[in-house]
Symmetry: C2
């Protein structure tokens, strides 16, 4: 038989209310009484039911989290940071990897609500109408991390993706490149799709470099799509001298494609990535990348969410913009001007 | 005001017990009554409290999972598969990334117990005495995945790590290599540390190749340690012609080190990894590797665990051994015999 709260109360010679107060860490219990009750709890090996306690306290200490794809190094790293910060603050994560499936996202959001999670983190921005309607009515604090869907009342923790893409492109232009190809993301994504693409275009425009549709391709952020899009780019009438890919995974795929075509990075083609994932140090040449502060993003996400949870707010107007940073490694070099004598 | 179960019952003209039966999907409710109650639930936007229902049904549908390090591609992939299988079966994951900290593991195991998880998956095998004592007394089904700690009453879903390491080494021997270096794991780990090391040694012995202590190094499974250990190996009196690293991450680090020393893989040194992670296809040359069926492992783990949960068993004698598979890519070649005329 498992010991019950009654057994603890009896053996400690106190009421069950007092035991309950000790368990909940309330302040009205004197230290010596607290110690006595705790001793009996330890002796009997009493483990309070979290479920029963949750009902009383209306606190579950659960945070629900929606991740698009755990096998991506970017999301795995940010989740690791989210988990660490949450557990330090006494919260536990319910994790849902939706594998880019919005149907699954809606199902999980419903479950999060039913399980009375105290807050929700969403790292996915392809919201359909049903999800939007659900979020509109939701009375649980939500925070978006690394993404900012259009028209949301909820706060996002992000970098300025437009400026980051602008800066990455300007870096290549500064090295003398003019034939700069672009491997973009999913254009249904505002943050990582549209914003980065707009930043790339604006940088070319501001530097009076004509935009060549032939140099613009879109992938799904994964290595294989970087490889495939690069293959198409290599078949261009005039080969680009530089490529900007909006994820490190796609940049690594592009580098492999260049390599497999017996061309060299950066001697023949410069490549710059986006994210600053572990991969940048693993590939050869090391990949220059526009870095997001991934760990900080995870940390700030959880701390902000807990703030909202404590204040019982649900809607917020201001986003939190973290700083991006260009990290130069070995995959880019100044352009070699040909036949310009 | 949120609608309560009473409100649903009143509007549908039934008892709260009937509403509760509909919510729990019980069989005693007629279809037309079920439809009627469901309609009222939808109209009122009633969301039952999972907490309250859990108390009644003694079911939380939670599975707790201990992951050593989410930023490792191996664990991220297996977790992704675990999550997918669990969610298909109607279970949700409480995820704890312990960052190789056994103190955190014990704390989380206690929380899992308190939250009445129905099953626990552990992917970490450095159990200290406190954790062992905790598991000994635990009355919740536990399953180990990808690891098998010594003396456990719980089942493991693993490959035969000893044979897999033996086979990887024999593959290099079959290519004519005799100076085969080994970058092992943490020797406190039975599965990925001791078993793989023993397999390497046995393969050399069986082929009458002397074991050179100078060729044996141990890392922490991560790329950087593969790089550092390889640096030491390159300083050996006589350079090895092949290296077997017990994780793909370490093998990739070793390849980079060889590359940075202006040597070539596989022309100067052959490299073989272990795990079959995504990295094998991303690095150049592509990494040959002893592959674990990572996704299958995640799936079988959850299905077995749910089996135990359903049968309310907690201890099991037999491990489930999945098949390993050598995947040959481009990082190994036959040894070039020198000065043997």
């Amino acid at each position: 038989m498992k010991p019950k709260i009654k057994d603890v109360a009896k053996q400690a010679g106190v009421s069950t209310t007092t035991v309950s107060r000790v368990l909940n860490g309330e302040k009205y219990v004197k230290d010596d009484l607290k110690a006595k009750v705790q001793r009996v709890i330890d002796e009997l090996g009493y483990s309070p039911s979290h479920i029963a306690r949750s009902l009383v306290r209306q606190k579950t200490n659960l945070i629900g989290i929606i991740v698009p794809d755990l096998t991506s190094s970017f999301y795995a790293t940010i989740l690791s940071s989210v988990e660490q910060t949450a557990s330090q603050a006494g919260y536990f994560l319910l994790v849902c990897d939706i594998h880019e499936d919005t149907g699954k996202e809606l199902k999980y959001l419903n479950i999060f609500k039913e399980m009375r999670v105290e807050g929700i983190v969403i790292m996915h921005e392809k919201l359909d109408d049903e999800i939007r309607a659900f979020l509109d009515k939701l009375d649980i604090p939500v925070i978006f991390s690394s993404v900012r869907p259009a028209d949301q009342k909820f706060m996002s923790v992000i970098i300025d993706d437009y400026s980051a893409a602008y800066d990455a492109t300007c870096y290549l232009i500064g090295l003398g490149h003019e034939r700069i190809a672009f491997i973009g993301g999913d254009m249904r994504d505002v943050t990582s799709g549209q914003s980065r693409y707009a930043g790339y275009r604006k940088a070319l425009e501001d530097n009076n470099i004509p935009i060549e549709d032939d140099y613009i391709r879109f992938g799904d952020y994964k290595p294989q799509s970087g490889y495939e899009r690069m293959k198409e780019l290599l078949a261009s009438r005039v080969r680009p001298t530089a490529v900007f890919a909006v994820s490190d995974d796609m940049a690594a795929g592009a580098m492999n494609c260049i390599n497999d075509h017996l061309l060299s990075v950066p001697d023949d083609i410069s490549v710059i990535g986006f994210d600053g994932s572990q991969l940048t140090e693993l590939v050869r040449p090391r990949l220059s990348s526009m870095e997001q502060p991934i760990e900080e993003m995870g940390k700030v996400t959880v701390l902000s969410l807990i703030d909202f949870m404590t204040q019982q707010q649900t809607g917020f107007k201001k986003d939190l913009i973290l700083k991006h940073r260009l990290v130069v490694r070995d995959s880019c070099r100044p352009v070699v001007k040909q036949q310009e004598t």
